[in-house]
């Protein structure tokens, strides 16, 4: 694949080591046209159909979020359209006994893991109804600070191991986030303390306006794992069968007591940083060129149609099902009541301090006035 990250940089400016890094091979199962490039890594047909359904569902959320934002019915939302394979293929490798630590751009991963759509909408509408994660899931609210979730995943993974379970913790980060200290401390802790973690590094080319080449001289981010003595895998992030394959393997290793893995999913953020962002200020059409042809949804669709696992009729029925699911969920989210001012000081401590009790009384008095 020819991507901005893997295009060999000028050896005179980037250095020979970076040039060699750029030759690193991607794990890939499907070519962009949907033809199979690694037959041994294909999951079974029901799994392929499940991944396709999740990608369609997740893409629909992203597209509807855009429309809701334009009509004032959505808060600031970081879109992930084009990155569905990176998020669906990784999150689908978990069960609800495993932990998921998503960043703000990982709504697709959260939905795949099982976060209900109404709560997901509520979160991005800045409603407290989207803050309390469901009791039966082990997912945390989307992380706004960069990279801070990585050490949390190490701690949760270690706790599971202490309890004697085979459960794992998975955390997401972007190429920009991998410059933060917490990323490096977490990889080192996970290796040194043998924590059953799977670290997903979604290299999508941009940290708001800063391209990966400005972020780091490294061109193969999966090799950062070498510094911490853990395996690093580089995978075509627009190939859901490949991301599912390598993540399932990393999860299996972690469950088996074989330690943590770093997975770099090489993908691209086609859309803006958030729906309030204007990417024309910092990138050109040439930067985006070629990525539509690598679209993860059409790639798997072409494969399923060609192999006879999907028909146009079944695909149309799936579209109707996904649309109905979303509209029903939207109605639920629309019905969530607004918070009251006194909720500002709720849920700070199990027992409010005397100071918080006074402040709550003051808020209630002002509400009543």
């Amino acid at each position: 694949m020819s991507q901005p990250q893997t295009t060999p940089p000028d050896p005179l400016t980037a250095g020979a080591a970076a040039y060699e890094d750029a030759q690193g091979d991607l794990v890939q199962t499907l070519a962009p046209d949907g033809s199979v490039t690694r037959p041994g890594a294909l999951p079974d047909v029901p799994t392929r159909l499940h991944l396709y359904r999740q990608m369609r569902r997740v893409r629909h959320f992203d597209e509807r979020a855009w429309v809701l934002y334009r009509t004032g019915r959505m808060g600031v939302f970081p879109p992930y359209g084009g990155m569905e394979a990176s998020q669906v293929g990784t999150a689908a490798a978990l069960t609800h006994d495993d932990w998921l630590f998503p960043t703000y751009r990982d709504t697709g991963a959260a939905l795949t893991y099982g976060l209900p759509i109404p709560q997901t909408l509520a979160y991005w509408r800045t409603s407290p109804h989207g803050w309390a994660m469901p009791q039966d899931l082990k997912i945390l609210p989307f992380y706004i600070p960069i990279a801070t979730q990585y050490p949390h995943a190490v701690g949760a993974a270690l706790a599971e191991r202490r309890r004697g379970t085979a459960n794992v913790a998975m955390a997401y980060i972007g190429d920009g986030g991998s410059s933060e200290g917490d990323f490096h401390e977490a990889l080192n802790f996970a290796g040194a303390l043998d924590a059953p973690c799977v670290f997903i590094l979604q290299n999508n080319g941009w940290a708001i306006s800063v391209p990966t080449r400005t972020q780091t001289r490294a061109t193969n981010l999966s090799r950062r794992a070498d510094g911490y003595g853990i395996p690093g895998v580089r995978v075509d992030g627009n190939d859901v069968l490949a991301t599912y394959h390598v993540t399932s393997e990393a999860v299996r290793r972690a469950r088996n007591g074989e330690g943590p893995t770093l997975i770099e999913t090489v993908t691209y953020r086609i859309k803006p940083h958030t729906l309030a962002d204007d990417p024309s200020r910092y990138r050109t059409d040439a930067d985006n060129e070629g990525w539509d042809a690598k679209d993860p949804v059409t790639r798997l669709r072409a494969h399923l149609l060609a192999e006879g696992h999907l028909t146009e009729e079944a695909d149309a029925a799936l579209t109707r099902e996904i649309e109905a699911e979303f509209e029903a969920a939207l109605a639920v989210a629309d019905a969530f009541p607004e918070p009251t001012p006194a909720e500002i000081v709720d849920h700070v401590f199990a027992e409010p301090t005397p100071g918080l009790r006074r402040q709550r009384a003051q808020l209630l008095a002002e509400e009543g006035a």
Partner: protein, 334 residues
């Protein structure tokens, strides 16, 4: 203290009382895990965790890589997953790399998940000066934490308090910073009750009673204030020394009751002056009890400069009994 305080006692230093509390917590609750730099084999640079790894195993008491953000961040993950993490930061002045984890997450988890998750984590850190340490080993960053919503701040001043407050902090369902005055680790000994007991967070201790001046202090400043109070008493001035024990929750009732009695207030901390917790106490008294004041409140503090590691002038930066006694005379003379 809890309903039936144990009657048997032992003479312990503060660091021995802390060690005793940690052992009891590990014994009582299998979820308690102790970790940090050098806490395992070595038993901590001050020996607060001495012997705990040998007794409870490397799974419960373990050394981590040297990275404070990693230690606190990993502890947050352990707490989310239901353990009771007790982390040691080797010196409070080394806490700063972990402040992102503290400010962004530790204090917010209950709030940002509407109590779906909470963090029953304790972070212990030796703090303060008076023992001639190198640079950055004597800082008093308690005001930063007290200003952070969602975390509690505990600072004991005696061995018996240290034990009971630490056990209460470990029992607490929310994150607690537990600052231990380095100066007090071995300089004071007292009778400490045997066995398990807790001292509730949020209850100040009246160290000495007096009618003329209220001296408010905590941690390493309590013995300094006591010496100044003794000197004042020799001159016929009755000084009430209040040891706050916890900054969050703050026992404003005890503070205000004393101010109403004496009408004169001196606040002593070794932290820098501007924006310190002493300012919060001062403002609270001004809001709630100004009509009882007979003199302006006087703060005795460090300076708006990094703590100096220069032995000969350290005791000028760090409030000493002479400076506190002078402040007591000042509020009496107004």
């Amino acid at each position: 203290m809890t309903a039936t305080p144990p009657t048997k006692t032992r003479t312990l230093t503060m660091v021995a009382a802390i060690n005793d509390a940690l052992a009891l917590a590990l014994e009582r609750d299998p979820d308690v895990h102790i970790f940090g730099e050098d806490v395992g084999v070595m038993g901590g640079v001050f020996r607060a965790t001495d012997g705990l790894q040998a007794r409870f195993g490397q799974g419960r008491v373990f050394d981590t890589p040297l990275a404070e953000a990693g230690i606190v961040g990993m502890g947050i993950g352990m707490g989310l997953a239901g353990l009771k993490p007790v982390a040691e930061i080797q010196f409070a002045g080394f806490l700063y790399p972990a402040l992102d984890q503290v400010l962004s997450h530790l204090g917010r988890y209950r709030h940002r998940t509407r109590s779906r998750y909470h963090l029953p984590m304790v972070i212990r850190a030796p703090y303060g000066g008076g023992v001639h340490t190198p640079e950055q080993h004597a800082d008093s960053p308690e005001a930063i934490l007290a200003h952070t919503p969602g975390v509690k701040v505990v600072i004991p001043s005696t061995p018996a308090d240290a034990k009971g407050l630490l056990l209460a902090a470990i029992e607490d369902p929310d994150p607690v910073f537990f600052f231990e005055a380095i100066k007090l680790y071995r300089s004071v000994k007292e009778e400490v009750p045997d066995g398990y007991y807790t001292i509730p967070l949020g209850q100040a201790r009246v160290v000495t009673e007096g009618d003329d001046v209220t001296v408010i202090c905590y941690g390493g400043m309590v013995e300094v204030a006591q010496k100044a109070a003794e000197a004042a008493r020799a001159h016929g001035i009755g000084v009430e020394v209040i040891d706050l024990r916890t900054l969050v929750p703050l026992d404003t009732d005890t503070i205000l009751a004393s101010v109403q009695k004496t009408g004169r207030v001196v606040i002593v901390t070794e932290a820098p002056r501007t924006g310190g917790f002493h300012s919060e106490i001062s403002a609270t008294i001004a809001e709630e009890a100004i009509e009882f004041l007979r003199a302006p409140i006087v703060r005795v503090t460090g300076f708006d400069a990094p703590y100096p590691p220069f032995t000969s002038i350290e005791d000028v930066y760090r409030p000493n009994p002479v400076r506190v006694a002078k402040a007591i005379r000042q509020v009496m003379a107004y």
